[in-house]
Amino acid sequence: MLVPHLDVQSLERGDPELAGAPLVVCEGRDVIDLSPAARKLGLRPGMTIFQARSAAPEAVYRARSPELIRSAEGALVDLGQSFSPRVEQSAGAICVDVSDLGRLFDDEAQIANALFVGARKLGLAVRVGIAADKTTARVAARAGEVVVVPPGREPPFLAPLPVELLEPSPETLETFRRWGVHTIGELEALPAGGVAVRLGAEGALLARVARGQADSPLTPCAEPLVFEEAIDFDWPVENVEPLLFVLRRMLDNLVARLACRALASGDLGITMKLSPRGRDVRTVPVAAPTRDVATLLSLVRLALETSPPANAVEGLVVRTAPARTRSAQLSFFEPAGPSPDKLASTIARLAALVGETRVGAPVMLDRHLPDAFTMQPFNAPRVKLTADSSQLTVAGDARALALHSLRPPVQADARLDRGELRYLAGQGIGGQVLAAAGPFRVRDGWWQLPVTRDYYDVHLSDGAIYRVFHDLHGDSWHIDGCYE
C-alpha cells in the first residue's frame, strides 16, 4: 500500500474539515506539498510560504506534522496487521504478506479491494499493488490504484511501464535515458550480464525485477513493547499521598516486567481519570533510564506536588517508555563520579523547581557583553587525582578578583554632574561616587536585538566597588555586580 501525498493526507486525516480544502503543507519557509484544490490555485511545491500566501491568501496553510504522519502510517500498519501478522513498513509504503489468506478471500483482487476500502475507512486514499514479491508489488502500486499481478505474469505486466517506476538512482535513470531505455520491457530486453557489468549491483537488481525475478524478502516490523499498568479506584482519591502509595506498587510491577527484558524505564506517561469527568494526562521526563523505583517515585511525586490534579482521581494508568540502561565504565585510578541515576534525578528535581532552561552548566559566549552566557547540559566533571592524593584539584582553578553578579541587575538612580557620575542608589546599595573608571562602551546584537551599554567600575562611599552600566537604549542605570 502506497500513500500518495502523505503529508497532505495525514493532515486531512487529523482534521477531516480540511478534506477538499486548498491545503498547503509547509516546512520551514517552504511549501512542500499541496492538495489538488491548492494546485488549482496555481501554487507549486518549492514556493516560499510568503509567495504562496501572496498568490493565494485564501488557501489553508499548515506545517508538516511528523506526529500525524506517524499516526497515519501506524494506522496502515494496524490495517495490514488485521490481515496478516507479517507487515513491513518502509518510507511511504506498507507491505503485507497476503499469501495465506486463501481461506478468507476468494482471490487477490478481493484482498486488494478490502485493503483499499479499509484504508479509506481510516481516512486514507492508498494505492494497492499485489504481486508475488515485494518489489513488483510496489511497482504495481505505483502503476495504478488497485493492481493485481498474477503470478508468472510479471514480465508482461511490467513491460509497458515506465522505467522510472523501478525507482532507479538518478545516475542510472540518466544512463537509461541515454540508452533509449524508457520502459521496463526495454530494460528486460537487454542482456542481464551486460546490464550488471555496466550498472553494477543496482543494474543487476533492476534487471531481475524487470524479468519478474525479484526476490526481496519481507522484513516484518516487530510488535512494539508496551509496558503499562492500570488501576481503577473504588472511590475517588483526593490527596496526592494515597496516589503515590498506589503508584509505588504500580512502578514496582512495571520495573519488574522491564527487568525481565533487561530494560529500564524512560519517560513515564501518567493518565489520571478524574471525577466526575475528564482526564489529566502528563509526561514525567526521566533524564536517564533507570530501574530504581525510588527515583521514579520521587520524580512522580515532584510532578504531582508541583501541579496536583484538578479533581479527585478515579483511575490511574501508568505507561513507561522502555529503554536500555546506560553503563558507565569506571577507571581503576579515579573515584567514581555521581551515579547517573541519582544525578539525573537531582537535575530533574532542580528543573522542576526552577525551569528546564535554568539547570545546567553555564558556558561563557564569545561576545563583547561581559556576562553573555548560555546553558549547556550538565556533565559531572572528571576529577583528576594528583600525586598527593589527599588533595583533589579540579583543573582550571585560578585565583582572581571576582565579580559577584547581581542577577538580575539592580535598577538604580544615578545622578550626574557635567557628564560625570556622582551618585548611585538602588535596592539597598548606594552612595556617593568616590571614583569611577569608564565608560567602557559595548554594543551587541545590532542586527536583531540591539544592546548598547556604557559600563563603569565605581567606588562608592559605602566602601564597595561595583560594576554598573547605563543602558543607552532605555536610558536606565543598573548595578551589575560587586567586586570581591
Binding site: T48, F50, W179, G180, E186, A189, P191, H368, G438
Partner: protein
C-alpha cells in the same frame, strides 16, 4: 581652507584596506573637512590603494593629504609608516613591493632588514608589541608609540603598559583613533565586512565584531578630551604632520626615455620615422598632408612627447616583425603622425578627423593610445615583450577595482545575516542580468518578489546594508590590457604586486587613478575579431591557396556590401547585434564611411539623443536635412545634419560657443568620465553662455545642448569608429568570400561576439558551408577545415578537458584507435568524458563502435553507432573489467535501439551545445505548419500589420538600459532569424516564460518596414515539443 585644528588623525583606513574598513577615501576626506581638520593620513593596509582618490578629494577641501601605510611585518606584527618626503615615498613603495614579491596574491611580509635599507624619509608608529629594539635602531628620532582610546577596558589596561614602555624607552607617544569608518553609522557595515573576511556570520562572529562604534573620525575637541591626561600624545600628531610634508603632488614620475640609435635625440628619430612612414602611406604627400604632419610634430616637440610616440611605435614595430596583427584605436586615429608611424590604419587627413581630439596644448596631459591585438596567446606575447623590455620593476599592468554590485552585495550580506542558501539563490536569480531597471525594480521589490518579507528584521537590515555596500571595493583585479611604465623604477612611484595570472605584475592603482596621478598608460587590448582575422588568413592560404592582405582588401566590394545590406552579419565585428541588424537594411551601407556611421550609430549617445531615427529618415529621403544653426553645416554635412561623433560635438562647441580645442576636449572628457557630473553642469553653463554670445539662443541652443548631453553616457569618436570600420569591412569580406575559414576561426576563438556557436554553425550552413561533427579519428582540439567543410573540434565536447583532448590527438597521430577501450586507455579520458564522446557520435568511426553490417550511410545516420558506443563506454572503468578491457563482447551483439533523429539532436545539444544535424525546429515544422505558424524566412514576404505567429529556439534575450523597459527576443528556425519586441507590461506578466523557455511560439503584429522585419508580440507560449536547444545569450 579650514582654520587651525589642533589634532591630526594619523591612522584612517579606507575601504581600500579591503574588508577592514567601510568608508571610501572621498568620504573620509569629506568628513575630515567637516570636522575642520587641516591634515589627515590615509593609511591603508599594506599599500597605498586609496591614496590617489583621497589626495584628489582632500585637495578640493584644502586638506593636507598625508601618505602612509599599515604594514604587516614578517613576525605577523604591524607597523604604521608615514611618509615625510619624496625619498620616503619611494622607500615605502619599494618596501611594499618587496614585501609582496614572490608571494601569493594578498600576502605581505615586510622584513626588518628591508625596512632598514629603506627607512629614510619615513616615520614609524609602533604598537609596542613587536621588535621595538630593532625599530628604535632603524628609525632613530622617527619612532613613536601609538595609543588609542575606544572606551574599551582591556585596551585601557594595555595603554597603561604602553605609557610605561614609552617612559622607559624614552619614546614619544602619539594618539590615534584607528579610524575604520568616517561616521559612527558605518560600524554595522564594518562588522559585515569582518564577517565576510572571516567567512562567518553575525550570529557566530562573537568578538570579531566591533565592541562599539568609536572608530570614526572625531573632532579635535573629542580627542583632546579623551587624552586629557596625555596632552603630549595629541600634540605629537601635529608634530608628525609638520614633519610629513609629502603629498602625491610630488610623485616624481617620469616617462621612459627611448634608446635612440646613433646618438640622436628622441625628436629627431621620431621625425625621421614619421617622414619615412608618410612616404609609404601618402602617395603623394600633398601640401596639406605635409603641413598637418609638421603641425603635429611641432606640438609633439613642444610638449616633449616624442618618447611616448616612440615607445608605442616600438611595440607596433615588434608586432609587425612578428607578423602579429595590431591596430591603434581611439583618438589616436585622429593623428597623421600615428598614421605615418603605422600605429593606426585610418588616414585622418582623408577622413577630415580632428587632431585636437587626440592632443592639444591646453590639455596639459599625455595622449592616450590604445592598441588592439588578437586576443589570447598573441596578445600575451606582446605583453611579455613589454615586461622584458622595461624590466620587472619598470612596468606593470594597471589594476581594476572590482566593486560590490547589487547581486554580489546581496549574496554576501544575506550569508552574513543568516539567510538560507535557498533564499539567497532565489534573490540572486531575481536580480537579473538585464541592464534595464524599471522604476519598481528596486531591491525592495526584488526582495519581496523572492518570497522574503520586508517585515522580517533581517530582511530590513539586508536592504539597508546593501545600499551602503554598493560601489565599495571588493578586491583588486587586473585591468585587461592597461600597462604603465616609467623611466627608472616604477616601484618607486607606486607599489607593485603579483597578479593572479602568472608572470603578471600589477600596480596598486586603477587606470583612473594612474591618469589622475599623471602616469602614462598604454592599453594593449585583446580583440576576439582580430584573433579571428589573424587565424583566418592562414586558413585561406592553406585551403584555398589565396593570400589575403588585410591592409589591402578590395575596397567597396559589391558582394560584401550586398551581404551587409541584407543584415546577413551574424559573426561579424560590431554589426551583428540585434539593434545593428535592425538598422542595416535601413542604412544600406554602400561605402566605407557608411560603415563608420553604422558602427557609431547604435550607441547610447545617439539613441538617448534621439539621433538614430532622424539620420536614417534623412538618409532615406523621408526627412529634410536641417541644421540647428547654419554655422554647423560644414561640421554635420556628412552625417546629414545629425551629430553622431564626439569630434562633431567638439567642433560644434568650438564653432557655436567659441570653445578652444582644449576646452572642447575638456567638455568631451567630462562627458565620458563617470566622476564628472558636476563638471558637466558647469561646462553646460559655459556652453550656453558662449552660444548666446554668438547669437545662438532658444530652441537651437537647447537642441545643441541635448545633442551634447546625450554623449554623457558614451559617445564614439569618429576616429575610433573608423578604426573599427576597417575591422568590420575585413570580417565581412572574409565572411562573404571565404566563409569556411571565417567561421572556423570564429569557432576557434569563441567565446566572443554576440552569438552562441550553435547559431554560428547554422548561419554557416545557410551560407552553404558544410559541417562535420566531432570525430575522435579526425578532429583536432580546435576546429579545422576538411575538404572545404568545417570539422568541429574536440573543444566543443562538453566536459572534455583540454589536456585529454590534446592527448587524444597525439595518441591518434601515433596510430589509429582500434577500439573504444583503446581511445579511453590512450587518451586518459574519464568514463564521463567517454560517455559524452559516445553520445555525440564522436566515437562512431572507431574500430568496434562501427557496426560492420551497417556500413551504408543510412544506417550510420540512423545512429546505430552512437548507441553501440554508449553500450561499450558504459562498461569502461568498471572494476573487474580491466582484464577484458580490450576485448569487445561480440557475442553480446548490440542490444540497444538506434537513436532517433530527435534523440541525436538532444544528445548533440547536451553534449556540445550545438548540432551539425538539422535544426530542431525542422522536426516539428509539419506540426507548426498545420497550426499556421510561419517560418522566419517567410515573414519578410508578408505585409506590414499582418497578424502572425512564428516559432523558434531562443538565441538572444535583451533588455537594454536605454529601451525604456522593452524586451527583445531573437528566435531562430531552420530558415533564419525572427525578432520580437515585447512591451514592458507584457514582460511583467509573462516574465517567466519569456526568460526561461528554450523555444517559443510568439504571436502578434508584423512590422515590415524598410526591409526590417519584427513582430510586436502580444502572446507567447513555450514550444515544449523541442527536446533540447542551445542556451540563449541573455544580456544587454
Amino acid at each position: 581652507m579650514a582654520g587651525y585644528c589642533d589634532y591630526v588623525e594619523l591612522r584612517a583606513a579606507s575601504a581600500f584596506s579591503f574588508l577592514r574598513a567601510s568608508s571610501l577615501p572621498e568620504d573620509l576626506a569629506d568628513r575630515a573637512a567637516e570636522l575642520g581638520y587641516n591634515a589627515m593620513a590615509l593609511v591603508d593596509r599594506d599599500g597605498v590603494y586609496g591614496a590617489p582618490r583621497f589626495h584628489g578629494r582632500a585637495r578640493k577641501h584644502g586638506l593636507h593629504a598625508m601618505v602612509g601605510s599599515d604594514l604587516t611585518l614578517e613576525d605577523g606584527g604591524r607597523l604604521m609608516v608615514l611618509v615625510q618626503n619624496q625619498g620616503g615615498y619611494k622607500n615605502l613603495c619599494r618596501v611594499v613591493t618587496n614585501a609582496k614579491a614572490g608571494r601569493p596574491k594578498g600576502e605581505t611580509s615586510v622584513t626588518l632588514d628591508d625596512l632598514e635599507r629603506h627607512a629614510s624619509g619615513l616615520i614609524a608608529v609602533s604598537d609596542g608589541k613587536s621588535a621595538l629594539d630593532r625599530l628604535s635602531g632603524i628609525f632613530p628620532g622617527a619612532l613613536y608609540l601609538e595609543i588609542g582610546r575606544h572606551h574599551d577596558a582591556e585596551e585601557e589596561r594595555r595603554n597603561r603598559a604602553t605609557v610605561a614602555l614609552a617612559r622607559q624607552r624614552q619614546l614619544p607617544l602619539v594618539a590615534t583613533n584607528d579610524v575604520r569608518y568616517a561616521k559612527a553609522s558605518g560600524v554595522d557595515l564594518c562588522d559585515v565586512l569582518a564577517c565576510i573576511r572571516e567567512k562567518t556570520n553575525l550570529d557566530d562572529a562573537g568578538t570579531l565584531l566591533s565592541a562599539n562604534a568609536e572608530r570614526h573620525l572625531k573632532s579635535a575637541a573629542e580627542m583632546r578630551m579623551l587624552f586629557r591626561d596625555l596632552p603630549d600624545a595629541v600634540d605629537n600628531t601635529l608634530e608628525i604632520a609638520a614633519r610629513c610634508g609629502f603629498t602625491l603632488e610630488d610623485l616624481g614620475y617620469q616617462f621612459p626615455i627611448y634608446p635612440v640609435p646613433d646618438g640622436g635625440s628622441e625628436m629627431s628619430y621620431l621625425t625621421h620615422l614619421v617622414h619615412e612612414g608618410a612616404r609609404r602611406r601618402y602617395r603623394p604627400i600633398t601640401p596639406r598632408v605635409a603641413a598637418q604632419i609638421e603641425r603635429e610634430l611641432g606640438l609633439i616637440a613642444k610638449l616633449d612627447l616624442a618618447g611616448y610616440f616612440l615607445i608605442v611605435w616600438d611595440i607596433v614595430d615588434y608586432c609587425n616583425r612578428r607578423g602579429l596583427l595590431v591596430q591603434g584605436r581611439g583618438s589616436a586615429a585622429n593623428s597623421s603622425v600615428c598614421y605615418a608611424l603605422g600605429i593606426t590604419a585610418v588616414d585622418p587627413i582623408g577622413m577630415e578627423l580632428l587632431f585636437e581630439r587626440f592632443l592639444s596644448e591646453e590639455r596639459g596631459e599625455w595622449p592616450d593610445i590604445d592598441l588592439d591585438l588578437p586576443s589570447g596567446d598573441r596578445r600575451e606575447e606582446v605583453i611579455q615583450y613589454v615586461y622584458k623590455k622595461y624590466g620587472a620593476r619598470g612596468c606593470a599592468m594597471t589594476a581594476n577595482c572590482i566593486t560590490y554590485r547589487p547581486r554580489s552585495a546581496v549574496r554576501e550580506i544575506g550569508k552574513v545575516l543568516g539567510l538560507t542558501g535557498t533564499e539567497i539563490d532565489r534573490l540572486s536569480k531575481r536580480i537579473g542580468p538585464y541592464e534595464f531597471q524599471a522604476r519598481d525594480d528596486t531591491l525592495a521589490e526584488q526582495l519581496t518578489g523572492s518570497g522574503l518579507s520586508l517585515d522580517d528584521g533581517r530582511v530590513k537590515q539586508l536592504l539597508r546594508l546593501a545600499g551602503q555596500m554598493m560601489g565599495l571595493p571588493r578586491h583588486l583585479g587586473q585591468h585587461s590590457g592597461g600597462m604603465v611604465m616609467c623611466a627608472g623604477r616604477l616601484d618607486e612611484v607606486v607599489p607593485l604586486e603579483p597578479a593572479s595570472m602568472p608572470g603578471r605584475v600589477v600596480v596598486q592603482w586603477d587606470k583612473d587613478d594612474c591618469a589622475d596621478m599623471g602616469i602614462i598608460k598604454i592599453d594593449l587590448l585583446g580583440l576576439g575579431m582580430m584573433a579571428v582575422l589573424a587565424d583566418a588568413v592562414p586558413l585561406v592560404r592553406a585551403h584555398e591557396g589565396i593570400e589575403i592582405d588585410l591592409a589591402h582588401l578590395p575596397p567597396d566590394d559589391p558582394k560584401t556590401y550586398a551581404m551587409i545590406q541584407k543584415a546577413d552579419t551574424v559573426g561579424v565585428f560590431q554589426i551583428e547585434s540585434r539593434a545593428q541588424m535592425a538598422t542595416l537594411p535601413r542604412m544600406r551601407p554602400e561605402r566605407f564611411y557608411d560603415l563608420v556611421v553604422e558602427v557609431a550609430i547604435i550607441r547610447p549617445g545617439p539613441i538617448v539623443g534621439q539621433m538614430v531615427h532622424p539620420y536614417l529618415k534623412r538618409r532615406a529621403g523621408r526627412e529634410a536635412v536641417t541644421y540647428a544653426h547654419p554655422s554647423l553645416r560644414p561640421i554635420l554635412q556628412r552625417t546629414l545634419g545629425v551629430p553622431l561623433f564626439q569630434e562633431q560635438l567638439m567642433r560644434v562647441a568650438m564653432v557655436a560657443a567659441g570653445f578652444s580645442g582644449g576646452q572642447a576636449e575638456e567638455l568631451r572628457r567630462a562627458m565620458g568620465s563617470k566622476r564628472s557630473q558636476e563638471r558637466m553642469r558647469a561646462l553646460e553653463a559655459e556652453l550656453r553662455s558662449g552660444m548666446a554670445k554668438n547669437g545662438i539662443v532658444g530652441k537651437a541652443q537647447d537642441d545643441i545642448v541635448l545633442g551634447i548631453k546625450s554623449f554623457a553616457l558614451y559617445g564614439f569618436p569618429e576616429s575610433h569608429s573608423a578604426s573599427f570600420a576597417l575591422l568590420v569591412y575585413a570580417s565581412c569580406y572574409l565572411k562573404a568570400h571565404h566563409p569556411a575559414a571565417f567561421y572556423t576561426a570564429l569557432l576557434n576563438n569563441w567565446p566572443m561576439g554576440f552569438y552562441h556557436p550553435a547559431t554560428l554553425i547554422t548561419d554557416a550552413r545557410r551560407r552553404g558551408v558544410k559541417l562535420r561533427p566531432i570525430d575522435v579519428t579526425r578532429s583536432g582540439w580546435l576546429c579545422t577545415i576538411e575538404e572545404g567543410a568545417i570539422r568541429i573540434g574536440l573543444r566543443y565536447a562538453a566536459g572534455l578537458r583540454q589536456a585529454c583532448g590534446e592527448q587524444l590527438v597525439r595518441a591518434r597521430d601515433e596510430r589509429a584507435f582500434a577500439s573504444v577501450a583503446d581511445v579511453a586507455r590512450r587518451s586518459g579520458a574519464s568514463p564521463a568524458e567517454m560517455t559524452t564522446l559516445a553520445s555525440i557520435g564522436a566515437l562512431n568511426a572507431v574500430g568496434d563502435a562501427k557496426d560492420d553490417a551497417a556500413k551504408d550511410d543510412a544506417a550510420k545516420e540512423g545512429g546505430l553507432t552512437r548507441r553501440r558506443a554508449l553500450w561499450q563506454t558504459a562498461a569502461l572503468g568498471r572494476s573487474g573489467n580491466e582484464l577484458f578491457g580490450g576485448v569487445s563482447d561480440r557475442r553480446e551483439g548490440m542490444p540497444l535501439d538506434d537513436m532517433t533523429l530527435k534523440e541525436r539532436l538532444t544528445a548533440d545539444f547536451q553534449g556540445t551545445g550545438m548540432t551539425t544535424g538539422p535544426h530542431p525546429i525542422s522536426l516539428v515544422r509539419p506540426l507548426l505548419t498545420a497550426r499556421g505558424i510561419v517560418r522566419a524566412a517567410d515573414l519578410a514576404t508578408l505585409p506590414d500589420g499582418t497578424r502572425v505567429e512564428t516559432a523558434g529556439t531562443v538565441v538572444v534575450r535583451q533588455r537594454p538600459g536605454t529601451a525604456k523597459g522593452f524586451f527583445f527576443i531573437t528566435l531562430e528556425d531552420e530558415t533564419g532569424f525572427s525578432n520580437a519586441i515585447i512591451t514592458p507590461q507584457r514582460f511583467a506578466t509573462d516574465r517567466t516564460v519569456l526568460t526561461t523557455a528554450a523555444a517559443l511560439v510568439i504571436g502578434g503584429t508584423l512590422q515590415n518596414q524598410d526591409g526590417v522585419v519584427s513582430v510586436k508580440a502580444d502572446h507567447f507560449a513555450a514550444l515544449r515539443e523541442i527536446g533540447a536547444a542551445a542556451p540563449s545569450h541573455d544580456f544587454h
